[in-house]
Symmetry: C2
Subunit: 196 residues, 2 copies
DNA sequence: GGCTGACTTGACATTGTGTAAAGTTGACAT
DNA sequence: ATGTCAACTTTACACAATGTCAAGTCAGCC
């Protein structure tokens, strides 16, 4: 746990992550600085503003949690159905890791266009994962008729959004496992043929 | 359009509504005051703070748009399925009316516990509508097995949440009509028996 | 005439972000 | 040993937006 060996920059990122993930309401620049053991001003020597710090924090988390490796499984799935389920599991189980930072960034969206861009970029990447799964389903002839690939992608995307996870897990009290189970089931029913 | 006859309080509420609904980013107290044709301070003669003003604005909208009448249709539906569809149409078509104020209130949630309470109260009312529809389905034996009534309610509730509407209509560009169509379809597939 | 309620004007406290400038400190090179 | 450099500290301030406070205007009304 000794953060002695870590660079100041890394200590700032880690502090920001910890504080945001701890769910302790609002996290100010001064809180982060204090947690990192430096002055508030010193944070600005490493990050130009709050938005950049938050964005750098998501990148830091991606690195530590190795998001690429998590998503690789879904890319190598044999069938469209398997790909859909693997993607839901991969992204759905990643949401809790970034939830704190996601909240802070989403709260900033309105005011800071740069933060908006950064978060939108990440969400666009998720949408591309959804689109790839939908394309795989379509290739297998397993996409519901009456649903365009774009609409199917949008439906899956919204179901895998952070606010939906937040409401089901945080507000309704679902376990993470049940969230994955029912999200998978709902997505299958919404996208695959049959049903009614 | 003459707002001459309206009381100052009503003019404030109407101005707040207009500005929030116009989607013009951040709406300050001074903006609202200017739109209402009074000084910023005068607003505080009618509402103690921003949060109370926003909450009062939602109540004003409810009154003008007669939300009770809209939801009445779903309550008198004969079957569970009809009730489900009527409720989705009623609430889903009400979301665009309150979207602007909803955004402002949701943005306040973190900082203002009172605003949080007020918004949560409204959302709880929506959840009760969802629960009533699910109960009606269950009574008809039309609730998917393996889904508890609570889980079914949560699924419907999250699908009818403002963020989901926002993403599909605002971000993805769905028409309101298509949103209602596909939300209805998805809810049927998620909640009713059969499917796979 | 004088009171009252609604509103205005202007000043100020507060909170958090971000900028700016000057000083400290320790490591490292020569 | 001395000088330099980077990292960091301290202090101060500008800024936006909310909210408070006090004094003043003005119309209507008893």
């Amino acid at each position: 746990m000794s953060s002695e060996a870590l660079s100041t920059r890394t200590r700032i990122l880690k502090s920001a992550w910890d504080l945001l993930e701890s769910g302790a309401g609002k996290t100010r620049m001064s809180d982060i600085a204090k947690a990192a053991g430096i002055s508030r001003q010193a944070v600005y020597l490493h990050f130009p503003n709050r938005a950049e710090l938050l964005i750098a924090t998501t990148r830091y988390i991606d690195e530590v949690k190795d998001v690429d490796a998590r998503l690789a499984a879904s890319r190598s799935a044999p069938s469209g159905e398997a790909r859909l389920e693997a993607f839901i599991a991969a992204w759905g189980n990643y949401i809790p890791e970034i939830y704190g930072v996601a909240c802070a960034l989403m709260a900033l969206e309105d005011s800071d266009p740069e933060a908006r861009l950064a978060w939108d970029g990440r969400m666009t990447a998720v949408r591309e994962g959804c689109a790839a799964a939908v394309t795989a389903l379509q290739r297998d002839g397993m996409l519901q008729e009456g649903l365009s690939p774009e609409e199917a992608t949008d439906l899956l995307w919204v179901q895998l959004s952070v606010p939906v996870w937040e409401q089901l897990v945080k507000t309704c009290g679902w376990s993470q496992a049940r969230y994955i189970e029912l999200t998978t089931q709902t997505a299958r029913r919404a996208l695959l043929p049959g049903g009614r």
